[in-house]
Amino acid sequence: MSTNSANGETNRSLASRLRSRFEGPNTIGDSRGFWIGFVVAVAALAVYPVFGDGSQLSLFMVLALLGLSLSVVWGYSGVLSFGQVVFFGIGAYTFGVVSINFATPGGITAAVVAGVVGGGVSAAILGYFMFYGGVRDVYVTIITLVSTIVLQTFMAQTAGSEWAIGEAALGGFNGMPDIPLLTLGVEGASYQFIYNPFPMRIIGIGAVEISPFYYLVLALLVGAYLGLRVLVNSDYGRVMVAVREDEDRTEMFGYNVTRVKFVVFTLGGALAGLSGVLYAARNVYIDPTVFSLLFATLPVIWVSIGGRKSLLGAVVATLAVEYLRISMAGELALVLLGTLLLVTILVLPSGFVPWVHEQVVKARLGSGEAGGADAPDASSEVSD
């Protein structure tokens, strides 16, 4: 992509023009050093499965998409949705229902699309009702929270045989097993992504097996991150941030605040739906715990800890918090998570990643190396 900023003087103008689409006051990390670090980080993620447990990291990356969706909705447009898991779960269940009924490569591909659309449409319906109904601020949060709990109650009682859509039984508490393996393409030209490792010979290491699902998720995550960077640094992104900062004033400037919130909420729902599809596909199983209060608040935790006004923060914090949460699966995990959340909100309200960025900027300014095209002044000002 446009990240090869080290190309040299020859095509500098083209590279910097491409790069500028990804940069702006609404994201942190505009320096050349950041982009080099970014490429290094993606490369590290790409080689990680050769050495470590890629299957767990793929789950974290799936959830990072969910974190990103909340970051856009809450961090950039100021709509705190406690119900991102509603769209996540609807995406997952839609994928399950459609793919079980049409278990052919083309059908499963369509199921992926249906899951994303399902997440987006359900967000659009709820969003239409809320935003065009004049529901604001904390009431949006409460309605999304209540929706989560209602969906959990609903899905938990779908155990009977009357709760089946075509071949797919919803299964109540027991969930929906036997979701087909994720396959993309059409009959004759398709590729199956799960449990389908392909062996590779790497010089110096020897034969290793590579999980194609891992790379699919990595590509989607990097794509979503860069795509959202373009969005939030575009003119539309500036309007989103204006809505977050002061709805009434933005309205006075002639922007349709209601529509902005509606569109962003729908987009966030679709992204959460995609995350849900990948979650269901990875586990080949889905159950109503995705609507539980605990799961509903996890995205809020990730995004708060990482820094809600930072896309990078959402991704980094999702990976870090989930890693912590899984690795200390003891009784104290939730207590520590709660403490971390509490302390972050109280002491570092803007989150860890913006704080780290601030320290880096300060250190660089202090050593007198700042300036030139990469001067990070604007970003540090606005990301607060």
Binding site: I142, V335, P349
Partner: protein, 312 residues
């Protein structure tokens, strides 16, 4: 026949449940602009304290319930001092670092929700670690009354009476006493209240304590009729939030009215179609109410009153 007595009793039951679940949350939200997502866990503290006071210490039930409310109230004050206003941590940091580390959560709705959710995680899991997945329960007092082929727990009728009594007491406290006047002055205009000599900081602390004590008392009152597990607070959360949203800005009147309206909806739909549909109906009612009355029932009443005054 789905008989009238049954429906009336169920209405009383739903009304009591909604009013009791919402009262503490409504006071803290209405006066301080803080959404306490740990509300359910405050109810849990009250329920556990009362239950343990009976089973471990052998206190009489009524005393144990008051203890439950008191302990939760004190815990609420602690929470307010440490987390919501950050007064104690800031006191320490002023002396060690020379600056505040915590910005108070007043009128920072989203942040207050997230922070108190952190607290709720700690409390739920803490209760699980300390007491396991359930504790011994106290028996439901008073037995049951029967009519025809039905019978109904007397205790639930008592609960309805208590809920009305609490509403009246809260109303009295906030409208007829010196404390209530100061508290309301603090909501209306903090700066002016301060200028008039109201210690707003102390008002916030006491209000949070009272809201918490009400939550604890709710838990204590329901302790004999719900199962004692660390997640019991979740059962109250939906009803509490919906009632606060539908009630609107006037705390006591709003809670009473939304308790009445939502109680009727919940009772009717649960009676006819089961608990699940009852809950769905509650949510739909809240959505419709917010669609047409964005400031809740009391906001709507206020609007009507203003319009009438203008036309006169």
């Amino acid at each position: 026949m789905v008989n009238g007595i049954n429906l009336a009793l169920q209405f009383l039951d739903s009304f009591a449940f909604i009013v009791l679940a919402a009262a503490g949350l409504a006071i803290i939200f209405g006066i301080m602009g803080v959404i306490n997502l740990a509300h359910g866990e405050f109810i849990l503290i009250g329920a556990y304290t009362a239950t343990l006071a009976v089973t471990q210490l052998g206190l009489p039930l009524v005393v144990a319930m008051l203890v439950g409310g008191l302990v939760t109230g004190l815990f609420g004050i602690l929470t307010e001092r440490v987390i919501i206003s950050g007064a104690w941590p800031n006191y320490i940091s002023q002396r060690t670092l020379g600056r505040d580390v915590i910005e108070p959560l007043y009128n920072r709705l989203a942040d207050s929700m997230v922070a108190t959710f952190g607290l709720s995680l700690i409390l739920t899991q803490g209760a699980r670690i300390r007491f396991g997945n359930s504790i011994d329960q106290i028996a439901t007092p008073f037995g049951a009354i029967s009519y025809g082929e039905f019978s109904y727990s007397t205790y639930r009728i008592v609960l309805a009476g208590v809920s009305i009594g609490l509403l009246v007491a809260t109303y009295y406290l906030f409208t007829r006493t010196e404390f209530g006047m100061r508290a309301r002055a603090t909501i209306q205009d903090k700066e002016t209240a301060q200028a008039m000599g109201v210690n707003t900081d102390r008002m916030y602390m006491l209000t949070f304590g009272i809201g918490s004590a009400l939550a604890g008392l709710t838990g204590a009152l329901f302790a004999p009729v719900i199962s004692m597990q660390p997640t019991l607070g979740d059962q109250f959360l939906v009803e509490a939030f919906v009632a606060v949203v539908v009630g609107g800005p006037s705390v006591v009147l709003g809670t009473a009215l939304s308790g009445g309206v939502l109680g009727a909806i919940l009772a009717t739909f649960s009676n006819l179609y089961g608990t699940f549909i009852g809950r769905i109906a509650l949510l739909v009612a809240a959505l419709i109410a917010l669609r047409f009355l964005p400031d809740g029932i009391t906001g709507f009443i206020e609007q009507l009153r203003k319009r009438r005054q203008e036309s006169e």
